[in-house]
Symmetry: C2
Subunit: 189 residues, 2 copies
């Protein structure tokens, strides 16, 4: 076999360029040539690693999701074993929220993908499982009756805070204040 190249690395390099373009100019500015230029490679190479644009988009979406998962698990494991439920919840929600500038870009991309998936049922299916899983996990950590609705509410609040952060309506401090106030209600005493 000839020249061996790490396909995954190349694809990730391209996906990163895609995300940069999407974060700066929106998903509609994402074209093969723009992505290639942003990545500093030829348009032909992008085509070589992704047969179609849809395939490239799907891969980039998967990267965004995986990065989020990594951020969460990293933040959670940093807590050590058996952390108190409230701290655990606060930690992984804070890890998911776009609180700094860099994750703000990621969130912009995620928002663009969300709108993209809203009219493409096939792409939306992947997102569904993620939240359902997250919700039952949060519900298991919440005290008292009505934990299920409370978990749904907490996650919805998280998404909403994410939206406000992306659109620049909230600062990181404001968002965390709102989150903490909500947690105060969920963890009485």
């Amino acid at each position: 076999m000839p020249k061996k190249v790490d396909h995954l690395q190349r694809r990730t390099l391209i996906a990163d360029a895609l995300m940069r373009v999407a974060a700066e100019r929106g998903l509609e500015a994402v074209s093969l040539r723009h992505v290639a230029a942003e990545a500093g490679v030829s348009a032909g190479m992008v085509q070589h690693y992704f047969a179609t644009k849809d395939e490239m988009m799907a891969f980039a979406m998967a990267v965004v999701r995986d990065r989020g998962e990594v951020r969460v698990t990293a933040a959670v494991t940093r807590l050590g074993a058996e952390p108190p439920p409230r701290l655990l919840i606060r930690t992984f929600i804070a890890a998911l929220l776009p609180l700094d500038e860099q994750s703000g870009d990621t969130a912009k991309v995620a928002l663009a993908f969300l709108a993209y998936a809203a009219v493409r049922p096939a792409a939306a299916a992947a997102l569904r499982d993620d939240t359902a899983q997250l919700r039952s996990f949060v519900a298991s950590l919440l005290p008292g009756p009505g934990a299920d609705e409370a978990a749904g509410g907490l996650l919805a609040l998280m998404e909403g805070l994410g939206l406000y952060l992306v659109s620049g309506q909230y600062t990181a401090e404001q968002a965390l204040a709102v989150l903490d106030a909500h947690l105060d209600r969920l963890f009485p005493g």
Copy 2:
């Protein structure tokens, strides 16, 4: 002066077509020709009423916002004078949430516009005022201390529920259950 035409009506007709296209196939499918075809008019006419595509988009965004406002005030005035705060809040949040199929389309469009505005600071400014206004209104209705953070949390929860509804993760009943559970916490007793 020649043929007098109701400009606003024509522009609204076109904006409605734009929203239909965006709801079905996403914002990136919104082109002058597609919108014209959907509206059943010539592409030249669209150009006649909107000098540029951006102007058309801005007008459509304004229409979406205005429709939301109308929905809210209609639902609220239906309550009569001096409604109890909790009912008032629940009513206008329910009016804003995409609970039926038709408003689901509107919400898809709103989501697309949100992503659109996320990378266009000029378009995002209009949204900011709206939520700030809404937040102080809600805060004035909430009891006890920390009303400001609680109002922010409630609105964030609303946005998150909207997202979940649009992406098909929640049914209308589930969303309302989560909302009511949250209101239970905000209005103790």
